[in-house]
Structure formats: C-alpha cells, structure tokens
C-alpha cells in the first residue's frame, strides 16, 4: 500500500522541506546573532560575541529577562494548579452545566491575542492593576490554563477510574485519595504543564505589550526594537529566547511521552 518507491522518496523529501521552512528562521536568527556586521545581510562577516555581551551588559534588558522569568514562573504555578483542579473536575464529576464549564476551560486560545490584549488592558485598568507585573501574570494565566488543563486531562484519562473508588472504600477521604493517588499519578503531566505554560508565557508578546506598561518583558522589548531602527542585538535576544522556550517545550514533550509510555507498560 505504500506505493512505488520513488513516490515515497519524494514524499519524505517534502516533509524535509516543510521542516526546513519551519526551522529556517530559527537557524537564521541563531547564525546572525554571531555575525559581526550591524546589518543582517550576506555574505557573513566575522564571528563575534559582541551582541551577546551587549545584551548581558544592558541593565534594561537584564531586568526584562528577570521580569519575564518571574512572570513565567508565577504563571506556570498558577495555571498548572488551576489546570489540575479543572482537569480533575472534568475527569471525576458530571454535573449540570458541565458543557459550559469545559468550554470555559478551553476557549481562551481561540480569542485572537490582539483582542485579548485590548480587553485585558481595559478591564485590568478598571481593576487598577494595569501596568504592573500582576497584570501580566493575570492575563498570561488566563491564556495558559487551557494548555495545562489539556495536558493534565490527557494523563488522568490513563488512570484506572476504580483506583480512587477503592481508596474511598478502604476509608481514605476523597482529599487523601487525591493527595496520595491522583497527584502522584499525574506528577509528570504537572511538570509538563508547568514547562509548557512557562514557555507560552515567556514568549507571549501581544497581551503583554498591551498590559505591561513600563514593566516590559523580553518579547515586548523585541516588539519595540522591531518597530524602531535596525538593532543587531535583536538576533542575540531572539537566540536566547529560542533556546529557553525550545528547552521548555522539549522538556514538556519528553515528560508527556514518558508518562504515556510508562502507563503503557503498566497495563
């Protein structure tokens, strides 16, 4: 059914081409971050670490990186906690209005980030927290809860539903059962959710741009550099952002892969 050999070869080459298209810009940013010319044109000039040194010695950029990291950590913790509660509710209970509940849990990513940014800016100004780090954390958590919920929910669906019932019958309170049974079972997915939501937050530029005010995160700085003049530091900043978020996404994927393989052997 795989058809003629030659066909298959072409198809595989096509997949390679698609991957090349997807990874080309990442490679370009990495290469030019080490290029000594101020302008991003070929041919390449000599190798340099100048732009990285510039980034590392710029107080404004350092504080932006610190802020982004802090926001990502808080968002990861909050959205994973709320995501677990939501995933567990969907796994354990059925109740009236559950359709609405699940829709509320998964809807936010379908709202374009520009609209989310505008709505958050207006609403958080009303609540008098716009322009603070708290505003970015609040907005990013709204965006990240669905990702955390989905990852944890997938893992919970691999859990034998009878396990918890058995614990209850043996006299464990439902709280104890969650603490000693469900949480350890979902541990890898919780870590995966934290890694992925941290990556999403660390990369998010649109909503942060609207609500951050003077508390700029790294992507907001990138956005402002893009709107201004040619600035060769942007490739170095971009490379650091790539490496950070790629590591987080890879970690999340490995954690998810591992946890489903593990349950596969257990069955």
């Amino acid at each position: 059914m795989t058809g003629p050999r030659l066909d298959t070869l072409w198809l595989k080459a096509y997949v390679g081409l698609a991957l090349a298209f997807v990874f080309a810009p990442i490679a370009v940013a990495l290469v030019f971050s080490f290029n000594s010319s101020r302008f991003p044109t070929l041919p390449l000039q000599s190798f340099t670490l100048e732009w990285y040194e510039d980034v590392a010695s710029n107080p404004e950029l350092i504080s932006a990186f610190g802020r982004s990291a802090l926001v990502a950590l808080l968002v990861a913790a909050l959205s994973t906690a709320i995501g677990f509660a939501t995933a567990y509710t969907d796994y354990r209970f059925s109740f009236r209005g559950k359709g609405f509940f699940v829709a509320l849990a998964l809807l936010p990513p379908t709202i374009p980030s520009v609209i989310m940014g505008l709505a958050m800016l207006a609403w958080l100004s009303r609540l008098a927290i716009s322009g603070t780090i708290a505003a970015i954390v609040v907005a990013h958590t709204v965006i990240c809860i669905p990702f955390a919920t989905a990852i944890i929910r997938l893992r919970l669906s691999e859990m034998d539903a009878g396990l918890e019932l058995a614990a209850w019958n043996l006299g464990a309170s439902p709280w104890t059962a969650v603490r000693t049974l469900v949480l350890p079972f979902a541990r890898r997915s919780l870590l995966a959710a934290m890694a992925l939501t941290a990556a999403v937050s660390f990369d998010e530029y649109a909503v942060a741009w609207f609500v951050s005010g003077l508390q700029k995160t790294v992507p907001v700085v990138v956005l402002e550099i893009l709107t201004g003049n040619v600035d060769p530091r942007i490739n170095a900043i971009g490379a650091i952002v790539f490496v950070t978020s790629m590591s987080l996404v890879i970690a999340a994927q490995i954690l998810i892969g591992r946890s489903s393989q593990k349950s596969g052997t257990a069955e």
């Binding site: 939501t86 709204v142 942007i234």
Partner: protein
C-alpha cells in the same frame, strides 16, 4: 449523618470547580464582558465615560476604511488558510501513513517545538530572509537572477501566516489521517486505485472532519494575527488587527477598538459555526 457526608462530598466537588470559575470568570469573562460594555461608552477629554450610545458602532461601521480592512482581513486569512491547508497535506499524508511510527513521532515532536517558540522572532528572521538585500535575493543574484522585491507584499504576509500555523496544521491533519481505518485505504488500493485516486476518494473524505478542524485553527490564527501583516506585509493598508493596535495604542479610543474587536469575534464565531456544521452536520 448521611446529610453531613453528602455536604462534605458537595464541598469536595465544588472546591475543584471553583478555581477555574473564579479565575476565568473574573478575568476572562470579565474582560470580554467589559470589552462589550465599553463599546457603548463615550470618550470625553481623553477619558472614557460610562454611557449607552451607539456612536462608536455608527462611526466605525459607516467608514469605508473599516470595510476595506474587514474584507482584506477576511480575504488574506481565507487565502492563507487555503494555501496552508493544501501545502500541509502532502506532509501530513506522509507523516500519517508513509513514515514508520518512530519517524512519525519524531516529525510530530519537531513540529510541536516551533509552534510554541517565539513567533515574533521567527517573523523577524523572515524579514532578514525576504528583504531587498536579504538572504533570498543574495542567493538569487548568485544564480544570476535579478533581485525581486518580496518584503511588504501580501505574499510575505502569507509566509508569516505559514510560519505561525503550518506546524499546527500539519500535526492536526497528520493525526486525523493516521487514525483512519487502514483497511479502508487498503481496500481502495485493492480495487485498483492509484495513490492520487485513493487520496481523493478515500483519505480526504475519511479524514474530512480533522482537515476542517485544522483549517479552522489556521483561520482563527491568521485572522487575528497582526505580526505577519504588520512586519512582513508592510502594515499598509491595515488589517483589522492592525486597526485595533493603532486605535488602541494611539490615545484613548478604546471603545472604537472594542467595536472592531467584537466584529472580529463575530466573524470567528460564524466561521467556527459553519465549520462545525460541516463536520457534524453531514456525517451520520
């Protein structure tokens, strides 16, 4: 005692439900609700004042400027969705049916990474590639082909859209293609179908709902994106998302931006509704 146990069970259930309802109720529903309310408010002396007037709606909807942007955005996003869905299909087909399970997992693993990795910086890198004195033109001149102006064109916007959505569309298409019952595809080949005929007569119809869902996600992302039309497409004439950014960022005209935003949400809801009808309506 029985009622005591029931109360404790109810508390247990509600406690797990509460975090989402409180957080998304306060900040997600709250923000979107206020966006709607705000579209009826007035701006006086650079400050918003509560009101219930249709002035913002009338102002925006009466402008040819708005409708130009409306149709342009719809056209660009539809074209992007179509082109990206078609370009993604051979890759998704290969990943879903031709590759070994191991290679399949690796391909999906690789495609998920960029989807969550700084779209903004990737769009900037495309500026370097597509610029008049950029990488692509350098390679062309090396081949003896005169330089082509690529940046600030609708084509460059599409490149940006593809950067944003191609990985996701390939993954979603591949997942739905790989979950087709293989025996049905075998049957098509046994009945003498060529590969192309098996694709058009068996695989596309069988994977239809997955292909439509992938297209809906592509449309939602392209339609709302402001990075590709702004930094690659040249920002002029603007799309609706650029209109929102410009109106909101230049002063306090948030109510008018809100009108544009709500119109966009309306279009997205209509498109999703039609798509869901296509997925679930004619199946059975």
């Amino acid at each position: 005692m029985a009622s005591d146990a029931r109360r404790r069970a109810a508390i247990f259930a509600v406690a797990w439900r509460a975090p989402l309802l409180i957080w998304q109720g306060s900040f997600f529903i709250g923000a979107l609700g206020f966006l709607t309310v705000m579209s009826f408010w007035l701006v006086k002396n650079y400050r918003m004042e509560p009101a219930f007037v249709f002035q913002n709606w009338e102002r925006i909807l009466a402008r040819p400027f708005f409708w130009d942007a409306f149709w342009r955005t719809l056209g660009l996003a539809s074209l992007g969705t179509l082109v990206i869905s078609v370009l993604a299909f051979p890759a998704a087909y290969t990943i879903g049916l031709v590759l070994s399970p191991r290679a399949q997992r690796l391909a999906i693993f690789l495609l998920v990474i960029p989807f969550f990795t700084s779209y903004l910086v990737r769009a900037y890198a495309w500026q370097i590639i597509l610029a008049d004195r950029g990488i692509l033109n350098f390679l062309l001149s090396w081949l003896g082909i005169p330089a082509v102006s690529m940046l600030n064109t609708p084509a460059a916007t599409l490149v940006g859209y593809a950067t944003l959505t191609l990985p996701l569309v390939v993954v979603l298409q591949a997942l739905s293609i790989s979950s087709i019952d293989r025996r049905l595809i075998e049957a098509a080949y046994n009945l003498g179908c060529t590969r192309l005929r098996a694709i058009s007569m068996a695989i596309v119809p069988l994977a239809r709902s997955g292909l439509i869902i992938a297209a809906v996600f592509a449309f939602i992302l392209c339609y709302g994106d402001f990075v590709a039309p702004y930094y690659l497409g040249g920002s002029l004439p603007p799309t609706l998302s650029i209109l929102i950014v410009d109106t909101a960022k230049s002063g306090q005209q948030w109510p008018r931006s809100a009108v544009v935003a709500i119109t966009m949400i309306g279009v997205l809801m209509a498109v999703s509704f039609v798509a869901m009808r296509l997925v679930y309506g004619r199946r059975r």
